[in-house]
Structure formats: C-alpha cells, structure tokens
Symmetry: D2
Subunit: 352 residues, 4 copies
C-alpha cells in the first residue's frame, strides 16, 4: 500500500504478508531505486531526489520480521511555486481534472500530489524487496525497452534461450543492449525535447522460474489479470499484452499455438507466442508481456484547456522541470510491479 504526495512531508509504502527472516540487501535496494531516479542525464528532469528510504518497522537485525514493513522517503527539493498558477487550468493528459472530480477539489495539487510519478519510488522499493524474496525461489524478473521512437530491441518472446538472471542484471545497467538502437532512442527523445514535446514507448518484461500450474482461469486469480492490474497502477501505462501481443490477432492458430516439446526431460514449448500462460495458468515457459506507455503529459508546448473558475476556454504553458520521456526510468518500475504481481500469484501456493 503506497501513500504520499509529491510535495507533502513524505511518501512511502507498507508491505504486508512478507515472509520472516529474509535478510534484505539494502545496497541492492538502493541500486534499484537509483535506476528509477531522475536527474541522471540531459534526457531526464533536473529535479534531484535522494530517495533514501527509511525503514520504520518490520525489519530487525537486518532481517524481515514478517510483520508489516513500512518505509518512508522524505520529500525534498520541491518547488511548489512552479505549480500554483495551474490550479484552475487542468493540464491536458494529466489527472488534474479527473482527480479534482474524484477528490472533490481537496487533493494536494502541488507537483501532481498523489498522482505524481514520484510515487513510483516507493513502488520500486517494494519491488526490490519482492525481488529478493523471489530470488530465494529462483524466480527473477527483468525488463528492457522494446520500442522507443525510432529505436527498438529484439523481443523476449523470440529469445527464450537467452533469458537468464545474468541477462537481466546486464539490462538493469543498460536497458537496450544495442548501442545503435540506444542512440536511435536517445535521438528520438532529444528531438521531442527540442520541440517542447514528449514521446512514449513500449517496455517488455519477463519472469523466469515460475513453475507450471500457477494461476487460474477464474476472475481475480488468472495470471494475466493479476499482472495487468499491477501494471495499470503505474502512471502512463495504457496497455498490456502477453507474448506475441497485439500481433496475435493477425496470426493463424497453426502459427500461434506453441507446440510442446521435451527438452532435457522437461516439457517446454518450441515457441512462446502465448507468453508463458495458457488458460490463465503458467505453463512453465518465461512469462513475457509488454506494456505500452503514453507520451509524458507534461510538455512545454502551449496547449488548449478550460478555466474552471471562469468557465472559458483558454490556453496554458506548463513550466517546471519535466521529462520528455519516462520510458527509460519506467523500466525498473515495471519490474517492481511485476515482482509484486508474482508475489500475489504465489501467495497461498508456496510459502514464500
């Protein structure tokens, strides 16, 4: 359960149902949080966040106790003044208007408040803890940028053999292995930035080590639904698809059905177009899915909106520090949400 507002005293998360006795590697957690942190280069927002989480409960002598673990991250370096002018001018693509209706105008508008992408910091913290729990069961999670502007990477669906924890570790430092494609992506971002605009992209994620037989065809327990409900809690995610993705609508059944084979005594499928899930249940292959991220809503260009006070149409320019693209920073966020989804799926199946 994540709480906090961008410019309030602190943001944080409470994790319930953790196993007891997991020695947390705090450096690894810091590494994950740093992957998400902004301000690392010209492509990101200038806002710097130290994002050092303080663990208030649930940890004793370096190990999880099994009771609720609460971590908080103090808010610093917030320029609330940047946002004040916009109080009655809902920004297109933002949750200003829908949030105002939802919270009856009482939500904290500063810096996006509870809608801020900053809330993904405690999510990454939670995911980093979840990953360490899953690692004890030989389950690992990795993601990369599949498409961003002109650049694209090779899909995990066609790289079953290569998917290993080592690959995931390498991708954590460099989310697109090909220098050439990385450059194409960077150029696309910089081109958008130069125009005062923004772009989105597609992140692909895989989970290794999930045994066959996890999940259910039924509502609320099926693998795809559980992953999806976690992914849509990430701001800017507008779509999710498994395995071959939207392409599957154009494939024939004979091409799409993954043939079963024996490999080293275990049952596998020759291809993985289904993304490791049949009938809402894992089949033992890597679970692979991709999420579509919309372009960042905050852009420098003048946009059309309405003045909620006067009832007149008007235009606005958003000042402040913003990312022309958040896809590269969202990679560890997708991994974090995926790790939490896996924990939910395994609850009641194995004692984590």
């Amino acid at each position: 359960m994540i709480f906090g507002e961008s410019h309030g005293p602190a943001i944080g998360v409470v994790l319930e149902g953790l196993p007891s006795g997991v020695a947390l590697d705090l450096e690894q957690i810091a590494f994950e949080m740093n992957r998400r942190a902004p301000g690392k280069n010209a492509m990101s927002t200038a806002r710097r966040e130290s994002d050092c989480p303080q663990i208030l409960s649930g940890l004793y002598k370096g190990k999880t106790t099994g009771t609720p673990l609460c971590a908080v991250i103090a808010n610093e370096n917030a320029h609330s003044g940047d946002y004040k002018a916009l109080k009655d001018l809902p920004r297109p693509g933002h949750a200003d208007y829908s949030g105002r209706m939802r919270y009856q105008g009482c939500n904290d508008p500063r810096g996006g408040g509870h809608f801020s992408g900053r809330l993904t910091a405690p999510l990454v913290f939670a995911g980093a803890v979840a990953k360490q729990i899953l690692a004890r069961h030989q389950i690992s999670v990795g993601a990369h940028i599949l498409r961003l502007g002109e650049g694209q990477d090779v899909s995990f669906v066609t790289r079953t053999e290569e998917l290993t924890p080592a690959l995931f570790a390498a991708l954590a430092s460099m989310p697109v292995p090909s220098t050439q494609e990385t450059e194409l992506m960077e150029q696309s971002i910089l081109a958008a930035k130069a125009q005062g605009d923004s772009i989105g992209g597609v992140i692909e994620c895989a989970v290794l080590g999930l045994p066959a037989g996890i999940g259910s065809p039924d509502f609320g327990q099926n693998v795809e639904g559980v992953f999806a409900s976690h992914m849509f809690a990430i701001p800017a995610v507008k779509g999710i698809s498994f395995g071959a993705g939207e392409v599957c609508a154009n494939m024939m059944g004979s091409a799409y059905n993954d043939p079963f084979v024996f490999e080293h005594g275990t049952i596998k499928t020759k291809t993985n177009w289904n993304g490791g899930v049949n009938g809402g249940i894992t089949n033992g292959m890597p679970v692979v899915f991709s999420v579509t991220m919309r372009p960042t809503p905050s852009i420098a260009k003048t946009q059309q909106t309405v003045d909620l006070q006067t009832g007149l149409e008007t235009s606005l320019e958003i000042r402040g520090r913003h990312d022309p693209c958040v896809v590269q920073r969202a990679v560890p966020v997708v991994e974090a949400a995926a790790a939490l989804a896996v924990c939910q799926l395994l609850e009641g199946v194995i004692r984590l």
Copy 2:
C-alpha cells in the same frame, strides 16, 4: 463467481451484492445469451446449446431481492467421446498442460472442462443483469469488432459524437455496421476454416454515462486495472489497451494529450486518445478500450505435442466441432465483462 465444467451436470454463476428491487427483463437476458450462442451459421461450431438459465435464488416476483442470485444452465448435447483420446496429449495453445499442472491432473478434461468457452455463457448472463442495473443509472455498454482478418471497423475513439445507446443496440444485432467489412471478415474466417486453421481479432468496447471522478490512481481501484482484470478472465484475450491503444507509444505528447473544451456547459475533451481515463480516474468521456483475442486454439491441422505417458514427442489431430474464429461470439462476452467491471468500480460510490 462462475462455476461449472463443459460436460458436467451444469454451469452457472452466483451474483452477490445486487441492489434490491430491480425488475429483471428476462427476454433481454435471453437476447444477450443468444448473441453469444454458437451454431448460428457455418462459421460457428455445430454444437447447439439451448443455454436457458434457471434462476434458483435472489429473485422474487420478478425483482431482485438483494440476496445472492444463483443461475444455472444445464449441460446438454455434449459428446464426451470426442475428447477421450487426447487425455495425455496436451493440445498446443490450450490449457491442457497448464491446467493438468494446476489441478494435479484431477480437473475434468471433457470438452475443456472448466476452461471451456462454454463458461462464458454464465458470464453473459451476469453481464446482462449488470447492464440492466447500469441502465437505471444511464450507463450503457457496447462493443464491436474492430479488426478481424482483412476487415476492420472505425474506432470508437474517433467517434465520440456517434456513441449512443441506440448505436450499441444496433451493434448488438450487427457487430460491424459496414456490409463490405463484414464480408471481408467472413471471408477471412472461411479461408481459415478451409485450411483447418483459425484466426483471432480485436474487439473494441465503450462505456457511456460514467461520470468523471470514478476510480483511483492506486492499485486495485484504478479504472484501467479493474477493466483489465475482468477482460483477462475471458478465454483467448491476450491484451488490452485504452483509447488510442498501442499506437500511443508512437504519438507525441502534443498530439496525444486531449485538450479540454466546454461543450453545452460541461467539460469534455476534444479528442479521446486517453480513452476516458486520466490517472486511473474517469474524466467523463466515454471509456474506450480494445482487447486482442488470439486465434482459437482448436484447429483441424496436425500439430506437434508430447505424450505425457510415454515421454515422447508426437503429433495430434483434434477432432470434434470447433469455431475457426470466436471473435464474433466474444463481442457480447466483452460487453458482459465490461458491465461487471463498471459495477465493481461503482460499488461504494453510488448505491446501485
């Protein structure tokens, strides 16, 4: 909560949390169930189902009581013999293997058992009840085939003005308004059938009448996540995206952000690329999303699999009656799941 197996005594559903005093239009429910029913033309399976639901509880003098409503549909016309040979040969693309692992080999294999597409019949029943409840709040749900083989329809995202309950009623009888596109789709299905193969497609769905301010950015309550978790409970759904869909990854923020305008005194957006949802909360525009359906797994062509008894790779041919495409029959199923998702979102917000 849906229960049943394809060839067991009956399938059914229990609906909890219904409002009291809703006079159910049983003919309308029958109409919805008939939309889903197979056997209507050459493109569908030859299996005929009467699918007449018997309501066991929760209805008194034609009105909902507010206590749990249980409806059961007896299973008839089942040819269990068709499936026996396949016990140890998992069919590619099916849940035979993943289900065997999940249920330790104890699930009913006949006719797909609990995985059968037949389980969508009680889902459509539940959705038909939900639609009647939503209609009392001026909320309506409609869907159409967006793409199927060579044919495609115009997206709801670009047709905000035309979206009305009347359009939805028309689409219920004819899920693609253009005769030409319908023919292209039918030809695509028949071509797949002729080859002993199958195809998938994309269904687009819209919800009208949802006020702005429903949902939350938080996990478990955000609009997109709630719709997604309902959609993935439909067999063969492999992806979902909102508004512009996957295309948004390639749009610039300035094009994707929907500008706010005043129209007849209410706030709307000029475009609806966000699909009626900002920050996990409705913005008052139609909620529009599309789901990607994989090609039907059952095909006549010979496929490669393994024999779980002997441990040898082998091939299989699936006999029996199967649909070369289920997209056309899935349209009311998507609507039903959407109606249930809306009910979940409104729980605790308005007293239905």
Copy 3:
C-alpha cells in the same frame, strides 16, 4: 458463498479454492447433513427436509477438481401459506423488520427467505467438505452442548487430554455424553415448548491438530477474529468467547496465564484458559471457543409488534412449525463454520 431462500427453487453453496484430488466421502457428508436435519423427534420442527445436495461442478470421478464446486439442495415440503398473514407485522426477534429495511421490502418473506435457518444446510455441506480436507492434515473439529437450560456438560478447556477425533466422532452421535444432563436439557426444551416458548444455550467447539504459529495479531488475520466472523454468520449466535470465556474477566493473571511445560518433547501449556490462542496466533494447544445462542425467535405466545401498513401497535401469534430450541441442531453447524474458518486460516500457509 451460500445462496438461496427457504421457499425458492433451491438453496446451495459454491466453494472456491478447494484443493484438487480430494476423494469426497459422500456418505460422511450425508451423515453431517442428517445431524442438522429437523424432524427427528418431538423437540424439533415437524418440517421434514430430505436435503440431498446435488453437486453440479467441481467434482470429477469422485474427486474434487480444484475448480469451484457448486452444490444445490432443492426446496420441498414448503407451506408458504403459513407466513402470508405476517407480511406487515414484523415478528419480534426476527429479521423481518431489519431485512425489510435492508432489502427495501423486496426480499422473499416466505419461510424467512434468505434469513431462514434452512440456509445452514448448505453451510453444513460446505463444512463437511472442509472437514474432509482438514482430516488429510490431521486436523479435526468437534463440538458439544455446553449449557442448555438446566443441563450442562464439562468444558473442553479442562479436558485437553481427552480431546481426540474419537471423542468428536462419539459426540457427533450424542452431543452430551451424560445421559442425566441430556435429560435435563430435554426437559428444559419440553418445558419451554409446553409454554409456547423457546430457549437458547451455549455450544462449545474445539479444533485439534492446528500447529503453533497460525494467524497474526493483525486485523483480518487473527485466529479469534476469523473464527468469530464465521460464527456470527450462523443465525442465532449472539456471542463468542475463547478458552475460559467470560469467566476470564474475573480471573487473576497468575491463574489465567497458561504455564508452559514440556510433554513428550513438545511444548504445551499446563492449562488452556487462553483457548489455544496467544496474541491472535495459535500456540499448538486445542483451539477452544464457545458460542452463545439466543432462544429461537419463533414462539407460539402472543407478542407485541406494529403494523407497518397502518402504523398502529398490535399483537401477533406466529403459527407454523417451529423449534422450541435449535441448539441441538446447531452443533454440526458450529463445527461446519469452524472447519471453514480453519481453511481460511491455513490458506497461504500450507497448501491444503
């Protein structure tokens, strides 16, 4: 999830989350249901119920599949005429008035509708299935009448050594071992009946075989809270207490604290005043609790009420067939609810 109304077509239950491959002993289920059944002697209502449940799903070749199991019991032998006159005269102690307010007058009033004690039949069915699942883990549940009118039995709290599955089996046939106390109870019931009145009582229940370490101090997961929420779903239950029960309020800490001892190499407590639970978590001793049951609300005596049509105070006489005491029939119901509570507590801890 239990559904149905006393005089509707059927009542029933859907069980979700069952393990796969449990061979159900249908005779044992019938035995449990017969324990609850009315009409067995002069002390019970004359209404006879065959109560033969039909399993519609989730069972294949005599074993649970692991998918939702639905059982329905057809309603027969209902005399709806008995209840018609009371439509606007809420019966004191009954849910006529509160239910009318809850369901806006739309609930089925015949025979108590959804409030009928008859709804405990599917609960006993569910509990009988749960008991068979728990038996595979050496967990057993038993109950007896602790107090009823002038009669009383020895508390389980002081009989730790004697508590065995064999004792529970004996109690299932004879819920008070002492003939003398049984006679006192029967006389109390018959005395109430002779006066056109009713009486309540106290049922005590124990669960054997639960390992130490189940539960949590936290809301929603603590052992006492989970048992309590199941018990209050039984009509007529108005109180629950663990171990020594209300008496503990008058005990000194030095007497109430259960001292730890080693016995055959395992840790036990010398006494069991805490009822096997410390801090919301099992301590390995038998979990013992007692539930207080109010006197049956339906009595023959004239009672005071109001006429909801005319707005006048009036009196009423309830005709029809009613139990002067339901405590003896409620014993298997308490066991059933306890078995379901244990299943909920073990979910996610061991794979049942």
Copy 4:
C-alpha cells in the same frame, strides 16, 4: 493498516478509502490519544509516551485529501534492556511462543515488538479520524467499563433512553459515572498490583445513529461479525457478545424477543436485548456489545515456563514496567475499533 514494533523507530497506520474534504480536528485526536496514554496515575505503567502522531500524507490544508493518510508515532523512552533476558523463556499468557513459531524467531522481541499494547496508539488515532467522519452522519460511539473486579456499571442495554453523544462525551473523561463503583474498581486493581498480579474486565460499547438496514446475514458482511473481527484485533480481548450477551442463553424467547413499538412516528423496540441487530442487520436501535478482556499477562509473580534453548522447565520473573490492569486504558481502544467497524459497514452503502 497498522505497522510498527514497540522498540523500533516508529509505529503508525495508513488509512485508505477516506472521504475527501474532512477537516480533521487535531486537538480532538490528541484528546482521544491521551485517553489511551499510560503513565497517568499509580495504576498504570510508569512508561511515558508522548505519542504525538505526525501525518505524512493524505492531509492538505487541514482537510483529508481522500488519498491514503499515513500517520507515524516515533518510539521514545524505550528500555530495551528490560526484555533481553527473556529471549528463550516464553512468558505465560504472552505471544512470545506463538509469535516465535509464527515469525520463525525473527520478530522483534523488544517490548513485545509488534504484539505490544503500544500498537493500540495508532489504532486510537485511526479511530479518532473515523469518529470525526461518522459525526458528519450523526453517528457516535461511546464505551464504558461494565465490570472490573468488584465494581460494575449499569448496562447500556437497559439505558436506551439515556444514550446520547453527550453521555459518551462525559464517559470519555470518566469511564464509570458512579464514584463508588469507580472506587471498587480501583481497589480491585490496587489489590492485584499489591500481589504482583493483574486483573481483566468487561467493556461495553454502543453505536448511536446507525440507520436500520445496514449489514447482511451473509458471512463477511453481517454486523456482528464485522464488529467482532475488529474487536479481536485488540490485544487481550477474548470474547464479544451483543445486547444481553451470554445471559441470553438462559432467557426464554418471550422475554428475549424485543417487541416492536412506535415512538414519535418511528419504529423502535421496547427492549434492546438483541443489541440493535436482527439477522446480522441493524434494526435502528443502538448497537450494543460488550468485550471481555483477559487479565494483563505481564505480572510480577514468579511463573512457570520452559527454556527453549535447553529444553528444560524453569521459572521466570518478569521485570519492567507493567499495568496491573489495562481495561481502563482499553476503553478508547474499543471505541476506536468500533468506529472503524462502522466505517467498514457503511462502505458502499452511503458515501461517507
């Protein structure tokens, strides 16, 4: 969701689902927290807690935003040294042993850790917020000590006319109105203290203003079950009963059934033995229930236990600062848990 350990950095709570725009009266919250605070007189533990909660999120300009509200209370004045010697000697009546089994020995043992009564401080905070929300709907919650040692108060069940928010306010300062009974209670506490022993008691609580028709007979939603599951999350609560309580087992139906009457045009019951609940649903009368609290487990007397290291039986003396009775401090805790239970019951019925 409450988190924290007695001697960790902080304890706290996250409240989800709050309405937007509730102006929180922080002084009233401090008043409630002070009612629970220890160290006020000779009868309580010498440990002083400032217990000043810091609100980290969910509050903006003094009003709730509607997003999750997190409050933390820093831990101070903790003497961890007091507890070290007891690591392997489980204290009778405490959760030392059951907690060790539950959390595999990894839970924080200092000061009771997550089991500490100190965790009731954030519960009282949460309840104080809930009370302010309920007050906007004319719902109020009050409690008193019904029995403690030799002293007892008059039951709320027989004082329907007197129950008012004003009475509750008076009881908040003086939980037993009669000076004579208060003295009897204090003498009982001091007598226990003089013997190095402890005593328990019974707290009775009432909720005013709940309309008729809230709740359900069904598991998980019935009024009694919801209150019970909240009450058992309070340490030391071992029983709960509604209305007349355990006495009802000995009443005849004709005495126990509450007759309906008209009073000032509204329907009431003449008596309130059912405690305001019929069939799991409120009937519009005050909801009244009492909880039984066991004697405080920490006593100065030598007790028998086992040494988990050596496997030998031994004895122990608990040093440190402890309450000979927590009943007086638990009164606001019971009110807090009741207020949260009411919020849960109203969720989805009225928009708080």
